[in-house]
Amino acid sequence: MRQEIRIAGFGGQGVVLAGYVLGKALALYAGREAVMTQSHGPEARGGASSADLVVSEGPIAYPFVQQPDILVALSQEAYTKFRPSAKPEALILIDQDLVKSQEGDHVYVIPATQLAEDLGRRIVANVVMLGYFTAVTGLVDPGSMIKALETSVKAKTLPLNMSAFHTGLEYQVDLENKVAMGRTS
């Protein structure tokens, strides 16, 4: 089964690293196939950027995301820009303090940036979101994600990143419109 995931935010929020860690966890440790592509706005910082992942059990021919099954939005601009291209029934994860979703969306919300600030660095909001993504979707096991994190971030930032990941992973999943993962197939 081919699944398409888009992680989007403004430049500087670490959406590319988030996509990379998730893709690496899937492709190297979870026994799946994964291809990552990215798109940026023309700006060096700010502007909506995204990391796109195609995930499958078997080889992936066409590498680009066409209609995401899962959309992660860390900024309002990214949500507004990318929501229309996602499947109507797509699973959507947002930072509740930064994004207001439209009615009818199947949304999982987490105050990722606030939680990251509580940990001392708002820069790890992306990794808080990755932990939450892992808990919500069940697409990848936490062990594979942790291995991917360990091999992708600088050693001195690893403790903070691990705290961020666990904060997201353990955040209560019971929010607005809870749907089973099966809906996205």
Partner: protein, 384 residues
């Protein structure tokens, strides 16, 4: 320790440009001279960091003319050398690429293609350097070019490119594209002992103590190569030269030399060409594609097969030399030939020429990958 750093055995999640750079390292490349240009920049960036770790040389040159000249000099001194660029830079390398052909200096030139002509679309893909790769330099010559379709092949074909370059004393091009260069995928790097290293044909100690650096003794038409500084007298000139390497501007010598340079590749084409077929056995419709476009073609062909259409895919892994015999054979068997490429019909023209058959094109000038749907539509039309 140094060897451990040179071949990063294991599974990686990296983009095609980085995989190409790691392929160069694993192949034993010790010299990179280049001028960064999108979308090939990550190759230079990666090698700028990695080559010094393994006691090797990275030079950012003043431009692409200098880059090409630098890698020829390094190779003539015995190094496995490489540069990386994109279409506009390849244009600037063309004069010295011809020099590499004439001097029979092995080297690897990577072109990560973008939307062209001119500055075009720097950050977006294209496949329109196919004919520039073939004919861009002046004079009669044959060239070798490979077209990877994945990050893994950016690694694998870079190693093959170094081996073919050494084996036939010729420049070898890798014609990647922005999609394959920037896409991040799993790349498996094998243990060092499983990486092919063919090496160069070296001169035997001559009886009379003299060595003629362009004298051919073998049926493959490849003269042994001696490196500057090894004690032999070496003379390289872009002028038409005799077996000693000295200028000999006669029509006879010129015809002999250029004919040998061309036949050196033509006669060995079977050893150089790489292709891959999918569902070809009973195919009535043949789809031909290469590079990233072959990924869309593969999906289109798979979907068409599920609908019962007898269609197959030939993926060109090498573009040059062109697999003429294979196409003549396939043309006998199929009713329709479809060529998908991110240009307005470069390889399709070659296929028409060789098969004497009309070709249905799925063309796009570049900027985005041709989606599977466009190719599937062409297959459906052909099957209707």
């Amino acid at each position: 320790m140094m060897d451990d750093l040179r071949v990063l055995t294991g599974k990686h999640f990296m983009n095609g440009d980085e995989a190409c750079a790691e392929g160069a390292l694993a192949a034993g490349c010790t010299f990179f001279g280049g001028y960064p240009i999108t979308p090939s920049t990550e190759i230079a960036e990666h090698l700028a960091r990695r080559l010094p770790e393994v006691d090797s040389v990275f030079i950012q040159m003043e431009d692409e003319l200098g880059s090409m000249a630098a890698i020829l000099g390094a190779s003539a001194a015995g190094a496995r050398s490489m540069t990386a660029t994109s279409g506009p830079g390849l244009s600037l390398m063309m004069e010295n690429l011809g020099l590499a052909v004439m001097l029979e200096i092995p080297c690897v030139v990577v072109d990560v293609q973008r939307g062209s002509p001119s500055t075009g679309l720097p950050t977006m893909p294209g496949q329109s350097d196919v004919m520039q790769a073939r004919w861009g330099s002046h004079g009669d010559y044959e060239i070798v070019a490979y077209s990877p379709w994945s990050a893994q092949e950016m690694f694998d074909l870079t190693i093959l490119a170094f081996n073919i370059a050494d084996r036939y004393r010729t420049p070898v091009l890798i014609l990647g594209d922005e999609v394959v260069g920037h896409m991040i995928e799993r790349v498996v790097i094998p243990p060092k002992e499983q990486i092919d290293h063919w090496g160069r044909k070296r001169p035997k100690e001559p009886d009379n103590g003299r060595y003629e650096p362009f004298k051919v003794e073998d049926a493959d038409l490849v003269p042994p190569m001696v490196h500057a500084g090894e004690g032999y007298r070496v003379h390289f000139t872009g002028l038409t030269h005799d077996e000693r390497g000295y200028p000999d501007m006669s029509a006879k010598t010129h015809h002999q030399l250029v004919t040998r340079l061309v036949n050196k590749i033509r006669n060995n084409a079977d050893q150089i060409i790489r292709t891959e077929g999918y569902y070809l056995d009973d195919a009535q419709i043949l789809v031909v594609a290469y590079g990233c476009t072959a990924r869309s073609a593969q999906r289109a062909v798979r979907e068409a097969r599920q609908k019962g259409i007898q269609v197959g895919l030939l993926r060109l892994i090498s573009l040059w030399p062109f697999p003429e015999a294979l196409f003549q054979e396939l043309a006998e068997k199929v009713d329709t030939i479809i060529v998908a490429e991110m240009n307005l019909g470069q390889m399709s023209r070659e296929i028409q020429r060789v098969t004497g058959r009309p070709v249905r094109g799925v063309f796009h000038a570049g900027g985005e990958m041709i989606p599977p749907e466009s190719i599937l539509e062409a297959i459906r039309e052909a099957a209707a």
